[in-house]
């Protein structure tokens, strides 16, 4: 048998099979990513042709990071603070709430499948359609204000609507994001809890372990790696948020809900924007997301040998 010929035929078949995927990847994936990185160092005002791009070094980054463009820097600072608030809220609200609901669901004996289906609906339906519903609920005469009025909490009513007032707009947007993002974390925790070996609890009972010891020794080791994933996932959602803001507030009122991705989109496709600055902003945000994810990994990630103690 001719092994070299067979090996060559196998390699050829391999290349033919990956050719369509790789071709698409090179044109749509790799090329645009490299193009985007390069563009971050060029100035290309919106509406100009690509060959009018001018190399400006790090000026794009200076524009929005260190006051090179005073107005844009202000917008960017406001946007990144809002992104970080959303990220903070996602972590401190979604993680405990998802865990609590997952524990409750795991304790239930009847209707578990139905509950699980209902609990997933916010994530499945999160789309332009649902963001308009939330706009309706937050409306000056919407359900939330009507409910507050009907139980006598008139002083709590947001007169311009919950997304129409400076101090309530961001919390209201966060509620919408949490509502849509929570199911993913919930499902992961639920799957984790189901995977805990119940024999371990029985064995612990025989050994006389108390509830706290069982939680720390049996349940937490399973939930810890899930918590890392959940944390990174939610950070990602918070720092890359766009759809909710675009549909509900477009960053308003007066920038109260402005986020970086909306700013990127406006810089890229609106008049007076600069496509180079848009790319520089996008990659800055990417770096921030990446660093925060690494920090979460370091803080909660499994350290080798820790279990042996």
């Amino acid at each position: 048998m001719n092994y070299r010929k067979a090996a060559r035929r196998e390699a050829l078949a391999g290349y033919l099979l990956i050719a369509p995927a790789v071709g698409l990847f090179i044109v749509i994936g790799l090329f645009t990513v490299l193009f985007s990185i390069v563009l971050s160092f060029f100035s290309l005002p919106q509406g100009q042709l690509i060959w009018n791009a001018k190399f400006v070094g790090l000026d794009n980054f200076k524009d929005f990071l260190s006051g090179g463009n005073y107005i844009l820097s202000g917008f960017f600072r406001q946007a990144i603070v809002n992104n970080l608030w959303i990220a903070f809220a996602m972590v401190v609200i979604v993680i405990p709430l998802a865990l609590i609901i997952a524990v409750l669901l795991e304790k239930a004996t009847r209707g578990v499948r139905l509950f699980r289906t209902i609990f997933l609906l916010p994530m499945v339906t999160s789309s332009v359609a649902i963001y308009y519903v939330w706009q309706g609920l937050y409306d000056p005469t919407g359900s939330i204000n009507q409910l507050l009025a009907s139980i006598g909490l008139d002083s709590w009513i947001a007169k311009n609507g919950w997304i129409g007032e400076m101090h309530t707009a961001l919390p209201a947007i966060i509620v919408t994001i949490v509502w849509g993002a929570l199911p993913h974390s919930l499902i992961l925790y639920f799957a984790g809890l189901q995977a805990v070996d119940t024999h371990l609890y029985e064995a612990a009972d025989i050994d006389g372990a108390n509830a706290w010891q069982k939680l720390v020794r049996i349940t937490w080791p399973v939930l810890k790696p899930i918590t890392v994933i959940v944390m990174i996932m939610n950070l990602n959602v918070a720092l890359q948020v766009f759809d909710q803001i675009w549909v509900m507030t477009k960053g308003g009122p007066a920038g109260a809900t402005q986020v970086v991705n909306v700013l990127v989109y406006q810089q890229a496709f609106f008049q007076d924007g600069n496509m180079g600055v848009a790319n520089a902003m996008g990659w800055t945000m990417f770096m921030l997301t990446f660093i925060l994810s690494l920090i979460s990994l370091k803080l909660f990630g499994d350290k080798k040998g820790e279990e042996s103690h």
Binding site: A7, E10, A11, L12, A13, G14, Y15, L17, I18, A21, V22, L24, F25, V27, I28, F31, T32, V33, F35, S36, L39, I101, K107, A108, T117, I118, L120, V124, S126, S127, V128, A129, I130, Y132, V133, W134, D139, T141, G142, S143, S150, W179, H184, I187, L188, A191, I229, N236, Q240, F242, W246, V264, Y265, A268, F269, M275, G282, W283, F286, T289
Partner: protein
């Protein structure tokens, strides 16, 4: 558990169910009310006449028929593209030896870290240059490519979990590589096909930024943009907006209903790759 504890448990689960369902019920109720009643009555459903005719208006006069079919065409093509392209590529990565196999596989996986909005500008410029801006193809190709990391990862792992003897015996019988993939491996991979279909159906159907950037011709618009167009008047007609919104999520609910098991699998798989 004591009775009181059981009661509290189900009470809390029902409360959370209510919070999950309320916005959806509000959507249905608002779409059936008279325009003036949506914001002025607290009751979830119309107290007088149920205005079904709003749906006909949205579907016919407000072009939802066309948006709906655009969404169907784009989503189905995306799903077919994902399953065909990446089952082939993953089969090569999993089963065939060729120089660069691992490096290319890792490069594909690395793409999942790329932030979507950032590459919109070069994507727009590239598509403009290729002449596929403002076409179905211009929308479908990036959607397919975006699913590559997860699809290749899932298919490759699954193909590797199938005993290698199967591959060897197919070879002995004289089956070519394509036939081995199509007649032996793909029929065994239905769970992966279903998982990718469920996850990417929702992703593609709900996608907003990509069609916003790529499409400018209203006759090509997909449903999410169609819903946003309903809001473009000076005076917002909540009943019309909610009828359009409901039309846009019915296919999602159907897909979720049929493929829930696989969707949940996909959620876990998607998390592991993150």
């Amino acid at each position: 558990m004591t009775k009181a504890k059981t009661g509290a448990l189900y009470g809390l689960l029902l409360l959370w169910s209510f919070l999950c369902l309320y916005p959806l019920l509000w959507m249905v109720g608002a779409s059936l009310k008279a325009p003036m009643d949506v914001m002025s009555t607290f009751s979830l459903f119309p107290q007088g006449k149920w205005h079904w005719e709003t749906y006909a208006e949205v579907w016919n006069r407000l072009n939802f028929f066309s948006y709906f079919w655009n969404s169907v065409i784009v989503t189905l093509s995306t799903l077919i593209g994902i399953n065909v392209l990446y089952s082939m590529a993953a089969f090569a990565f999993a089963k065939l030896r060729f120089p660069g196999n691992n490096a290319l596989f890792v490069l594909f996986l690395g793409m999942m870290f790329v932030p979507g909005i950032t590459v919109m500008v070069p994507l727009y410029l590239t598509e403009n240059y290729l002449g596929i801006l403002n076409t179905y193809i211009g929308l479908i190709l990036p959607s397919i490519n975006g699913a590559a990391p997860m699809a290749i990862f899932l298919f490759r792992n699954y193909f590797r979990s199938i005993p290698h003897e199967l591959f060897e015996s197919a070879k002995m019988e004289g089956a070519g590589i394509m036939r081995t993939l199509l007649q032996i491996y793909l029929p065994l991979s239905v769970p992966i096909l279903a998982t990718l279909t469920a996850i990417n159906f929702l992703g593609s159907w709900n996608s907003l930024i990509l069609p916003m950037v790529i499409l400018s011709d209203q006759s090509l618009f997909t449903l999410p943009i169609g819903v946003m167009l309903l809001d473009s008047g000076v005076f917002r007609q909540w009943n019309v907006l909610m009828a359009g919104a409901l039309i846009s999520i019915v296919p999602i609910l159907l897909c979720f209903g049929f493929l829930q098991k696989y969707y949940i699998k996909g959620l876990s798989a998607g998390a592991v790759k993150a």
